[in-house]
């Protein structure tokens, strides 16, 4: 039976079902409620795990790195500045092929200081070797965490997974969620059986020194494995559907794309508002659809071009920006089409930075302006008064 839970509570209850042996985290808004709940569950004995308090996110990531190397299933969560502080360790976790699962409750980065949502933080870790999955709502966030452990611990993969959910829009929103049944979870996600792990009986080195004759190969293998993880993500999503009877997409998910001449491409909680807009436009007979990207890493280039085949105009919406270059997601979407005979018109729109609300009217304006003219707004809803009228 569905429960009306705060997103953070739903995530904590899901993590409990995943049975991590070691949890370490440092509280930071809007991630706090997740780790507060987990620390309570551990203190009450409802979750048999070592909850290790630390003095920073760098330490939290280091603790789960070490614990994972000993063969334990681990969990951490952070956001924003915390994720930036973890970054060095995140690269190491991926490089050592440790199947850590973490939550990023997406938030803007400083300066200016903002506790509100965008996706700049996790975008910053996109080259680290982590698989990154983005959730549309609480239910999907829960489901992706369960899948994340399966994917990370798959012997063909052995890479960490970051589940990204929009801070406040998911982490602090109360909405219905179907809780997991223990039996189903155990069937879907058995205990972690590590192949190689640290033990005094068999001393090993993780993350050792690699001279120039070996380093490229180590990086290549991670890249190739991420490519191969697409298949594992698809399999896992399919199996999830079989066991739990819900779920939609795997790497991507399409919404009314079949006969569309215009498509939105986006990730995360903005998809909900886009679906409402598309329903409204469809009622008026307008042929609009959505391609939701769930997996940002590995990047589903082929899946994107296949899903958007024949569509004339594509608006890529993203809550992050590469300062000095522009939209990040939009470039990767464009690159996916490079070299094809017929390419659609693809424009990028930067929305919702630092928690700025994205009213449905703004989304509809993007559609109208781009559909009828060029409309490469890049930064949406800029307040020109604040910019001195320019």
């Amino acid at each position: 039976m569905e429960k009306l839970w705060e997103g953070s509570r739903a995530i904590a209850e899901t993590i409990k079902m995943c049975r991590p042996k070691v949890i370490s985290a440092y509280p930071i808004t809007p991630q706090t409620h997740i780790v507060e709940s987990l620390s309570q569950l551990a203190a009450d004995g409802d979750l048999v795990a070592e909850f290790i308090n630390v003095e920073s996110e760098h330490s939290a990531a280091s603790v789960v790195l070490g614990a994972s190397a000993t063969g334990a299933r681990t969990y951490t969560a952070t956001t924003s500045q915390g994720l930036l502080l973890m970054l060095e360790v995140l690269y190491n976790i991926a490089g050592m092929r440790l199947p850590v699962v973490m939550t990023c409750a997406n938030r803007a980065v400083s300066a200016p200081l903002s506790i509100w949502n965008d996706q700049q933080d996790s975008f910053t870790a996109r080259d680290s070797g982590w698989i990154q999955l983005y959730a549309e709502d609480s239910q999907e966030a829960c489901d992706l965490h369960l899948m994340a452990y399966r994917i990370a611990e798959d012997k063909r993969i052995m890479l960490p997974v970051m589940v990204c959910l929009d801070g406040f829009f998911i982490s602090h929103t109360f909405e219905p969620v179907e809780p997991f049944e223990e039996e189903n979870v155990k069937q879907f996600l058995p205990d972690y059986q590590p192949l190689h792990y640290l033990t005094p009986k068999n001393p090993l080195t993780f993350g050792s020194f690699a001279e120039p004759d070996k380093y490229t190969e180590a990086r290549y293998i991670i890249h190739r494995t991420l490519e191969e993880s697409k298949m594992v993500i698809r399999e896992t999503a399919e199996d999830f559907k079989k066991v739990f009877g819900r779920g939609g997409g795997d790497l991507v998910e399409d919404y009314f794309l079949e006969d569309a001449d215009f498509a939105f491409v986006a990730m995360g909680s903005i998809i909900g508002s886009l679906k409402d807009l598309v329903d409204k436009l469809r009622e008026k007979g307008e042929k609009v659809g959505i391609l939701k990207i769930i997996s940002f890493r590995p990047f589903p280039g082929k899946e994107i071009t296949t899903a958007l085949e024949g569509i004339e105009k594509i608006a890529v919406l993203e809550k992050a920006v590469s300062l000095g270059s522009g939209g990040i997601l939009v470039k990767e979407v464009k690159e996916s089409f490079y070299g094809r005979k017929k390419t659609p018109q693809i424009n990028g729109f930067i929305v919702g930075l630092g928690g700025r609300d994205i009213p449905q009217d703004s989304l509809e304006n993007i559609y109208r302006e781009f559909h009828q003219g060029s409309g490469d707004a890049s930064f949406v809803d800029l307040n020109y008064e604040l910019l001195g009228g320019k």
Binding site: L4, E6, I115, W116, D137, D166, F168, F169, I170, H172, T173, F174, E175, P176, S269, I270, I271, G272, S273, K275, D276, D357, I358, P359, Q360
Partner: protein
């Protein structure tokens, strides 16, 4: 779908109020969503919270710009903020105040018959000993709008605040509910 926007100040429990309303409506069989538009969580700072009630899955997560109901936890906000902004025609307002509807100086015009007042802070202080009006306001909302049952509100209040605090707040909610019902006669 019915959309509710609450205006309060940090410390009045506006987010707990939104949670109570969403949980109660969910228990009544509706689909509900509640979320805050946090400031920096300072006592006294204006805060907005949003609740959506529907018969089907709620997907939009943007702020509420055209509310069916506006709930004002602190009447001093109405002078500074256009709390009625975007309200749907036929929308209703519930205000925590000792004043009469015609004495309230909103920044937008509104027919008095679309406003209901309840001295929720006083009721909360009398019954619970604390000047936190959230549960009382939700009881009043149930009586005023019938979007949610008072039984579900009381259960949600007691679930949110276990023990004596919850019982007293549920009593406050019931009292506000009855006062709203009386007002109709």
């Amino acid at each position: 779908m019915k959309e509710i926007r609450m205006h309060g100040r940090g410390g009045q429990g506006s987010f707990a109020a939104a949670e109570i309303l969403a949980v109660a409506a969910f228990e009544d069989g509706k689909i509900s969503q509640a979320f805050p538009s946090f400031g920096s969580e300072r006592m006294g700072a204006p805060v907005q919270t949003f609740v959506r009630l529907s018969d089907r899955k709620i997907r939009s997560r943007n702020h509420i710009y055209e509310p069916d109901y506006v709930i004002i936890m602190d009447p001093t906000l109405i002078v500074d903020i256009d709390v009625l902004k975007g309200m749907k025609s036929g929308g209703l307002v519930l205000v925590n105040t000792e004043k009469k509807p015609e004495e309230l100086k909103f920044k937008s015009e509104l027919d008095f018959d679309r406003i209901r007042v309840i001295p929720a802070t006083r009721i909360a202080r009398e019954i619970t000993g604390k000047a936190i009006p959230n549960a009382v306001m939700m009881g009043a909302f149930a009586g005023f709008t019938k979007e949610v049952s008072i039984a579900a509100i009381k259960r949600a209040v007691m679930e949110r605040f276990p023990g004596k605090v919850g019982e007293l707040n549920a009593e406050g909610a019931k009292k506000a509910y009855s006062m709203m019902k009386e007002g109709e006669k």
